[in-house]
């Protein structure tokens, strides 16, 4: 197994809507910033992989035009996943195992402001039994939230406490859209939108992009004073139908975490792709974290949720804290599909 580390991470200044920049304009400065951090020229990158969703823009194959932000001449080695770019990072990690290239650039981008994200996400559902009913993204999440509360005896106050902590953490994140001091009492005074969820339990509509650069052993040490080594990475998917799953738990997260070795040693911090407050509680259980781990120090997806980059940002946020000496061991989680169907877990360590 080739050692691979995160050596650079850059993200756009996320906003609720960025009408003045198209995807390429949003992405270009982020790519440039990541390359500068790594001290790499564009031509030195051995493999490029991206994650995005054509439905966000409403244009089939729109992802090919995003390559204008990378510069694809002479022709480059490139691939794309139609899901969160955390899975593009996984593909890049696998590609680096071949040993013939020693750097990879991974990017994810999405503008959720262009269409109706909550309806767009309905199109990821089974087209026979689910999609014709148009259960939107929040409705699906609310069904899982209720199942979790029913199974655990927890209450909407427990969900509100997640939001309070997330917003407080986000106060120090310049990329956060939702941040600040609040209380569970104040949040619980809001009316539910799709009960048991309130707007505060849901992620903000966000336009944004992120870039991570990976490098293998010696190259990583040359680029970064303290690379964030990917010590374990795994992803697992479960059945699509929410009617055949135990919605109160996330077996796929637990399995991926076990394979990645998340619980093999003390975890200093965890970045979770929990778009909704209850998802953080479910994922936390599945990762087997104890109370000593700092959860979502960036504020997590409740603070900013540039869809298709959000999961990659979890890995980037965790890695940049490791590289900055803010911890020795971190767990990053990314999710895809309705109600936490598909989950990726990466374990990152300093040296």
């Amino acid at each position: 197994m080739t050692d691979v580390a995160v050596v650079a991470f850059a993200q756009s200044k996320h906003v609720a809507a960025d009408p003045n920049r198209n995807e390429v304009e949003m992405l270009m400065p982020v790519v440039a910033e990541a390359l500068e951090q790594a001290g790499l020229e564009r031509e030195e990158i051995g493999f490029v992989c991206s994650g995005s969703c054509d439905y966000l823009l409403g244009v089939p194959f729109s992802f090919v035009t995003a390559l204008d932000a990378i510069g694809a001449w002479p022709p480059i080695r490139e691939s794309h996943v139609e899901q969160d770019a955390a899975w593009a990072l996984y593909e890049a990690w696998v590609r680096l195992q071949h040993g013939d290239v020693d750097t990879a650039l991974v990017y994810g981008f999405g503008k959720s402001s262009l269409g109706d994200l909550h309806e767009i996400m309905t199109l990821q559902l089974d087209p026979y039994y689910l999609e014709p009913l148009w259960p939107d993204m929040v409705s699906m999440a609310a069904l899982q939230a209720r199942a979790y509360l029913d199974a655990t005896g927890k209450t909407e106050r427990d969900l509100a406490e997640v939001v309070v902590r997330s917003r407080a953490a986000a106060a120090s994140n310049p990329n956060a859209i939702v941040a600040g001091t609040t209380t569970a009492d104040a949040l619980l005074k809001e009316q539910t939108t799709i009960a048991p969820l309130r707007t505060s339990d849901c992620p903000p509509i966000t336009d944004g992009a992120a870039v991570v650069i990976l490098a293998t052993a010696d190259r990583a040490r040359a680029i970064s004073e303290r690379p964030a080594w990917i010590r374990g990475i795994d992803h697992r998917i479960e059945a699509h139908s929410i009617g055949v799953r135990d919605l109160a738990t996330s077996r796929s997260t637990a399995l991926a975490a076990g394979r990645a070795g998340a619980a093999d040693d003390k975890v200093d911090l965890a970045e979770m792709h929990a778009q909704f407050s209850h998802e953080e509680l479910i994922v936390r259980d599945a990762l087997g974290l104890d109370d000593s781990a700092t959860v979502n120090p960036s504020g997590g997806p409740l603070a900013a949720n540039p869809v298709m980059a959000t999961g990659l940002i979890r890995i980037g946020e965790a890695a940049s804290r490791i590289s900055a000496g803010g911890g020795d061991r971190a767990v990053a989680h990314a999710s895809s599909g309705p109600c936490l169907q598909h989950n990726l877990v990466a374990v990152l360590e300093g040296e």
Binding site: P19, G58, V59, Y128, S139, L143, Q191, T193
Partner: protein, 154 residues
């Protein structure tokens, strides 16, 4: 396209496939949809003995093929029990009902899995996990999940 005060030109864009895709539903989903047209609910029994409703072509636990023999399909319901739910205060235009309603995962009598549908219960207070519900059928049925207009308290 309009030229407002902003830096960028904004245009309306509609993504539409006129008439929609015509999907082939396959024999297992097709058996369920045929049942709906006849105002009947059917599940499919897996080799392990569990009854999946709505039916799938495979057992989600073992991936074993399901529904290859006519006798694998079994009648279920029509009543069932709510296993989880979510209350929609303000329905969206595409939602199945135009008044406040609940999404519910419903385990029909005789089934081992849940089926998603809308539950017309009037008020949020009237809904709880474990409540019994029954389908409200449309008069005009075509073999589609919306042949059930919604569920209602039993």
């Amino acid at each position: 396209m309009g030229d407002g005060a902003g830096e960028t030109l904004i245009d309306e864009h509609v993504l539409e496939f006129p008439g929609g895709y015509k999907r082939s539903v396959g024999p297992v989903v097709g058996r369920f949809l045929t049942g709906l047209r006849d105002q009947q609910l059917v599940g499919v029994r897996t080799p392990a003995g569990r009854v999946l409703v709505p039916p799938a072509e495979y057992d989600p636990e073992t991936s074993a093929a399901v529904g290859e023999r006519p006798e694998d399909f079994v009648p279920v319901g029509p009543e069932g029990v709510v296993t989880t739910w979510a209350w929609v205060r303000e329905p969206r235009p595409k939602h199945p009902l135009d008044r406040p309603f609940a999404w519910a995962l419903i385990r029909l009598d005789g089934a081992d899995t849940g089926m998603l549908h809308a539950l017309d219960a009037g008020t949020e207070d009237a809904v709880h996990t474990g409540m019994r519900v029954r389908p409200r059928w449309r008069a005009e049925r075509v073999g589609h999940i919306t042949d059930i207009e919604c569920f209602e308290p039993a």
